[in-house]
């Protein structure tokens, strides 16, 4: 079980975590369970959550057009990674399955278990044009595409509490100096400048990801992906780590951030109740606030981009986060089944699919979705996200998901230790290089 990807549903899913741990232990045996394409149908696996209904609809539409029928298997969210991993390479493996790109599938790619979709994309120029290029590329491994985007985008956004800003007579930060100034403004007003959930290290990782991107650009992390852990040596990483210590020292995150959690809504409540002014979080924060503090989500929640840093060479239009989720196709499929699977994943590029996503509150990653966004329940927010991602020269996938699973725990531990002051910036760089 890696970091849960769909964080909006985290609260409920934590509760079932232990049960599922047990369940995955059983499914890991590979006995029984759904799967297998022996019956001539296409077995499609998806992560089960509030967005699953979009996939249910597309299966219905697809089956009207195809001789080989697709069958949807909804795998309960928290156990998805384990189940996917334990089933691959067994006869129970899915034919088409949901994943997060990057590290979630890199081991499968290494073992030639996934179909390279580049020939299919090359044959169909419409398909290539259908998606925002940075998103399609964010799921690529070693330059080859193994996934077709199939869910909404989840960039990391700097949220702010409008009421708190009004009370302090402040406006959202447009530069790093603005941001540092706001820290003092809010500290003076007795408000924590930034809500931060220090017990959940992935929330701290977002800060490091953005800072490295602003200091050195998206190339820094790309170098780590292609050349290995020694590439953490880049000066931008050290600079980002020093900035983190500087922010902590200025009191940007308050005094007890180390004990605050995200999964039990500690940080989000702090932010919604006006005890914190800003919150750097994935776009799912909106859905999360809508569920728990509907009034705040409707009128109090503001959003802006992460500012540039002085002396940074990164493009301030770039974003980090989760570009989207992808469909990948099992390489064991041959002949008609393979053709059918490719036809099926292409349905994710269709307008009907985008409309379903928007109706569900998601922002689609298709390049022609702009005109559809007026139908979104919060068109301003949807447009902000869509434009943010569309004009971004790079969309860096969260590091803990982009790197192979084996790096996730040490990465998170190092980040948490950096924020806690248990590691110096130089020690942090060494820890990353030593992973």
């Amino acid at each position: 079980m890696r970091i849960p990807r769909s964080r909006s549903t985290l609260r409920a899913s934590t509760l079932t975590a232990a049960v599922l741990l047990f369940a995955t232990a059983l499914t890991g045996c590979g006995s029984g369970g759904p799967g297998g394409s022996d019956d001539g149908s296409l077995d499609v696996w998806v992560y089960q959550d509030a967005s699953t209904k979009v996939q249910r609809e597309v299966i219905k539409r697809f089956n009207k057009t195809s001789d080989i029928k697709a069958k949807l298997t909804e795998v309960p969210g928290e156990g998805y990674s384990d189940k996917m991993r334990t089933s691959m390479g067994t006869p129970n493996a899915p034919d088409v399955f949901f994943n997060w790109g990057g590290g979630s599938i890199s081991d499968f790619v290494r073992k030639d278990m996934l179909l390279d979709l580049d020939p299919a994309i090359a044959k169909d120029p419409e398909l290539k044009k259908a998606f925002i290029p940075t998103i399609l590329d964010a799921g690529a491994i070693d330059g080859k595409h193994y996934g077709i985007p199939m869910r909404g985008m989840q960039p990391v956004i700097l949220f702010y509490n409008k009421e708190v800003f009004e009370d302090a007579g402040a406006s959202p930060p447009e530069s790093w100096d603005d941001l540092l100034g706001l820290i003092d403004t809010f500290k003076g007003a007795g408000v924590t400048p930034f809500a931060l959930a220090g017990t959940d290290a992935w929330t701290e990782l977002m800060w490091v990801e953005y800072l490295v991107d602003r200091y050195g650009g998206a190339g820094v992390f790309r170098k780590v992906q292609s050349r290995g852990m020694a590439a953490w040596d880049d000066p931008a990483v050290l600079k980002a780590a020093q900035t983190v210590r500087d922010l902590v020292g200025r009191g940007a995150f308050g005094k007890n951030y180390k004990s605050v959690n995200y999964t039990a809504d500690g940080a989000s409540t702090l932010f919604a109740k006006g005890k914190a002014a800003m919150h750097l979080m994935g776009s799912w924060e909106y859905a999360n606030q809508k569920a728990n503090q509907p009034a705040f989500a409707k009128s109090g929640l503001g959003w802006t981009t992460f500012p540039a840093v002085p002396g940074g060479s990164g493009d301030p239009r770039s974003v980090v986060g989760n570009p989207t989720n992808y469909w990948s196709v099992n390489a064991k499929l041959k002949g008609d089944e393979r053709k059918t699977a490719i036809e099926f994943v292409k349905f994710a590029a269709g307008q009907d699919y985008s409309k379903d996503l928007i109706a569900n509150g998601d922002v689609p990653t298709t390049s022609d979705a702009a005109a559809l966004l007026a139908e979104h329940e919060n068109p301003d927010y949807a447009r902000f996200q869509y434009d943010l991602v569309k004009r971004a020269p790079d969309f860096t996938l969260s590091w803990d998901q982009a790197l192979p699973a084996t790096y996730t725990p040490p990465l998170q531990t190092a980040v948490q230790k950096l924020f806690n002051g248990q590691l110096s910036p130089a020690g942090f760089v060494d820890a990353l290089k030593g992973m």
């Binding site: 975590a17 384990d82 390479g89 039990a264 084996t406 531990t413």
Partner: protein
């Protein structure tokens, strides 16, 4: 009830046949132990052997494990995080025993008496045992939230300014110790209550005639009579403490940093987050070895294995 009746009816018919075969001794044969033994072999012994074998391989959960000889073990030997985890596990185990045993013993002995309200209060004390560990840990997580939880108010009194308890190494470790104690003391109270109830009333009557007070009676009668109960409870407690997991997962995730990463959590981190199942198996093997050794030692050193009765000479 419908099932029970025919069973009871069949029993007399079988009884004589079996007694004949076994020279009149009515004890069940090996066959009777077979279902239990098979279950144990398939679900405990076999997986344990497999884990032992996996500890010498490199396996990421897909494909075939490849033999790597001792590399997991040399890594284990050099890994500071593993050293820290073993140290934390041992400290947690000792503190758990020191913290839980006196409380459970006193509560259990008290609950064995016949005071007013005893039954009601015992039932209340028993409640934490009924909840699921995960649900309880989530409740405690909310209570320990530094801004909205109980600890926001009482934290400063405990020495944790701003309620920053889970963010400090000692605070987080203490929280694990406290929450697990709160959860498991009722079980041990129950064990002690049963033990104390079994002590013959006549011992106390005789002591009372000799003029022994409550305290003297406790130390001279109750405690010696509970000797075997103490060993039972201690073994359960120690093995339990060595394998604490869910509370850590939900309350601290092994943090801050790695300061509450005890051995079972380390195993989970390596096995199911990093998918480094070979190394995780090596950690698991260590855990099995340590837990078995500690419980055997406990049983040996206390003379529990001899099953000496506490009623000798009575």
């Amino acid at each position: 009830m419908a099932d029970a009746a025919p069973t009871r009816a069949r029993r007399p018919a079988r009884q004589p046949r079996r007694s004949v075969g076994r020279a009149g001794v009515g004890r069940p044969g090996v066959v009777w132990a077979l279902p239990g033994a098979l279950f144990f072999v398939f679900f405990a012994v076999a997986p344990m052997l497999l884990v032992g074998a996996l500890a010498f391989t490199d396996w990421d959960g897909i494909g075939t494990p490849s033999w790597t000889g001792m590399s997991n073990w040399s890594r284990l030997w050099d890994d500071p995080e593993t050293h820290q985890a073993i140290r934390l596990s041992l400290v947690l185990t000792v503190l758990t025993w020191v913290f839980q045993t006196p409380l459970a013993l006193l509560l259990g002995v008290w609950a064995a008496g016949r005071q007013r309200n005893r039954a009601v209060l015992s039932a209340v004390f028993f409640l934490p045992l009924l909840g699921s560990s995960v649900a309880l840990a989530l409740v405690w997580k909310s209570l320990l939230d530094p801004n909205f939880g109980l600890v926001a108010d009482i934290g400063p009194a405990l020495g944790f300014a701003d309620g920053d308890l889970l963010g400090s190494s000692n605070g987080a470790f203490g929280a694990i110790l406290f929450v697990t104690a709160w959860q498991f003391i009722p079980l041990h109270t129950l064990i002690y209550q049963g033990g104390a109830r079994a002590i013959p009333r006549s011992l106390y009557d005789a002591a009372a005639i000799d003029g022994a007070g409550t305290v003297r009676q406790f130390f001279s009668i109750t405690l010696p009579q509970l000797r075997n109960t103490v060993v039972t409870s201690s073994v359960i407690m120690v093995v339990g403490a060595l394998t604490f997991f869910d509370t850590v997962l939900i309350l601290t995730k092994g943090g801050p940093g790695t300061d509450t990463t005890i051995v079972p959590y380390l195993m989970y981190k390596n096995g199911f987050q990093a998918f480094d199942l070979g190394y995780a198996s090596a950690v698991a093997t260590i855990l099995v070895f340590v837990a078995t050794t500690v419980s055997l030692l406990l049983v040996r050193l206390t003379g529990f294995a001899a099953m000496r009765s506490t009623r000798e000479g009575m």
